[in-house]
Symmetry: C2
Subunit: 404 residues, 2 copies
């Protein structure tokens, strides 16, 4: 059987980095910067008031209370910049540019609130620089503010806007064509006959692709005749596609359309030393002169999603420029003793108690327990060389989204 | 000054739970279930084969090798259910329904792979039940599979599909109208004159709303004349709105359009004992016979986003049905000594080293350091009654998205 790392490396080698595209700031949330963003300007761009009050020369304030004429009013956004003559005070609002000649701001609370055109009486002294935000205190002109690889959340989008970026260069999301096959499958909402089940891998894997930063396109109930399968696939590949992801049709049985279609066309089908998720496939399919990466996952939903976590998610995130392709990993002690098959890496579904550092298995090792997977908040790993794990043994834990 | 908790309670009291709506499974990712989802069927719905192989009666396998006729082929999806006569074997594929009369499956690897219509020779015994997935092993009919409040990720969507749900009842996302005002503001991409800055709060807060599970509608550069402000607002409120969120125009200065427009119309403007984020407002604005909640945040971008974290994010998440409205919180020791104003709760931007349990401040306490906020991965809290924090003191830490 193929070691897990070898198959992971094979899949990683198939999917190239996606390149970049330019998006508007309003569409940038959760995207990943593809180029360093430097600021063309200082932040603040000009010295400005941190308070509502009066712009003064600190040296003019002595012999309190001191009364000064207020020749001008400087609201935020005033652009004509009236200079301050010695012995005077301009009324100034928070964020308004500090007048030339002023070196401090007295907050309105320390004054009588005198109006522009009249006078203001000041009660207390201020130091030079007090209540002034200096130009460039936050960011200097030319400074690298957001390096390539930054994932853009609200604060990063705010900073990009503040330095004047109306658009951002981000990694293009990997485009993934998700196919599901299987003649036993019926759409959710439709009645089942004996022997039929609802198709769940399509929507599940499409959600997993989107969750990994990709852009899923879903094609369900692809016919399981090889010629029809291939013509459906070729039609779908007329749209640009970075990866074809299938589920089902890859085990040892007869009637395995994915294997029958792809095995003679560039995709290698292998047994990987893993439980669940042994039957895997990876390769390139030729379409219209292009080589399109293909990864085939097993059809059982739990095997399918666990295989996606192991082989596909980190590769999609890396291709899309994510700085942390892997799930966060911690060590924890298992709450009970476990068995695992010799020579296969087991990925168990679990729930982590972070306070005690204990991970409890959710459901048995059986690969078909989808309800257990939906109640897990982590996966944990039992190594290939281990067949029995005593309670209290430390294992590697992969954190799924903990605050879902 | 108003205590932080009191203002938080005021804001929480304004925004009602949003109610529910029905979405297709394909649109359900990251939505939150508003009703318990029980399964109308068992999973698996019928006993089925866990292997590719031969459905047998375990008792028929003795005197190895044993050769049995193979009257039928049962691929996955075969719905006519041919029963198994004693002393025979049906070829069966993974997931196919176990024939009536069979009680076990012999994997193909333990046989000569005989074809349907001929015979199969079996090398080894199996126990009754071996390689069979019993009906209802995963989920029993009527079982609650996903409780209300579940956040729908890939595994949950897969489970919902498997139990036949084509649509899900989820909490409606809170609709938030984001307004930004300020005559000093210029759109990113446009040149600045002295005294002007780029508008950053609008896209930042819109992203923060979306990030909190809301649906932001952004209205920038709202005029700062009161009558024009109100007519712009009223026009925008013709669309259903759960919350109006403004930034700017609320401090002690003159020319504060948000305060001038809302203070006589149901919104209370207060000083909250917090740094940054002292000037806050909250209340209800009457529009066309409806009472629309309004929260006014300060205009400085850092104050604005920190205030959003403290007052708005948990309320939006709670209104949208999220089971964990608050940021995950941990305790950590500060890496250096800090000062904080008496009587105000300070929210510092920080970076957490989870391995050593240490939080380091990013940037100074000054509220205008947007670059520092964009490089923080947490906020940490210095209490109202504390003015000096020694290095090594434990503080409360709010985790922002750690793997961005």
């Amino acid at each position: 059987m193929r070691p897990v790392e070898e198959h992971a490396a094979t899949v990683a080698g198939l999917v190239a980095a996606t390149g970049s595209e330019t998006v508007r700031l309003a569409d940038a949330r959760d995207r990943i910067l593809a180029a360093d963003l430097s600021s063309p300007l200082a932040l603040p761009p000009f010295a400005n008031s941190a308070m509502d009050g009066y712009a003064v020369r600190a040296a003019d304030l002595h012999g309190f209370p001191v009364t000064l004429p207020v020749p001008e009013d400087v609201p935020a956004g005033r652009v004509d910049g009236p200079p301050l003559a010695p012995g005077t005070a301009h009324r100034i609002m928070t964020g308004a540019p500090l007048p030339e000649g002023a070196d401090a701001v007295v907050q309105v609370e320390w004054t009588d609130g005198g109006l522009p055109g009249a006078t203001v009486t000041v009660e207390k002294a201020v130091d030079a620089g007090q209540n002034v935000r200096g130009a460039g205190e936050d960011v200097t002109a030319g400074e690298l503010v957001l390096p390539a690889g930054t994932v853009l959340g609200p604060a990063q989008i705010g900073l990009a806007a503040a330095v004047g970026a109306a658009e951002l260069v981000v990694h293009r999301r990997p485009r993934v064509l998700v196919l599901s096959t299987g003649s036993e499958l019926v759409a959710p909402g439709e009645p089942l006959r004996h022997g039929q089940i609802h198709e769940s891998n399509g929507p599940m894997l499409a959600a997993a692709v989107d969750d990994a930063g990709g852009e899923a396109r879903l094609l369900r109930f692809v016919p399981d005749d090889v010629a029809e399968f291939l013509s459906t696939l070729d039609a779908a590949l007329e749209q640009p596609t970075d990866l074809v992801l299938t589920s089902g049709g890859v085990s040892a049985g007869a009637y395995e359309v994915v294997k029958d279609a792809f095995a003679p066309r560039g995709v290698a089908f292998v047994k990987v030393a893993m439980q669940p998720g042994m039957p895997q496939g990876a390769g390139c399919y030729e379409h219209a002169g292009h080589s399109v990466p293909v990864v085939t996952l097993p059809g059982n939903p739990v095997s399918s999603l666990v295989s996606f976590e192991v082989f596909v998610r980190p590769v999609l995130r890396a291709a899309g420029g994510h700085p942390h392709p892997d799930r966060p990993r911690v060590r924890a002690r298992v709450s009970e003793s476990l068995r695992s098959p010799a020579g296969r890496r087991q990925l168990r579904r679990g729930r982590l108690d972070a306070v005690t550092g204990t991970v409890s298995p959710v459901g048995a090792a059986g690969s078909h327990l989808l309800a257990a997977l939906a109640h897990a908040d982590c996966l944990f790993v039992v190594g290939e060389d281990v067949t029995e794990v005593a309670a209290g043994t430390e294992v590697d834990v992969w954190l799924l989204d903990p605050v879902r």
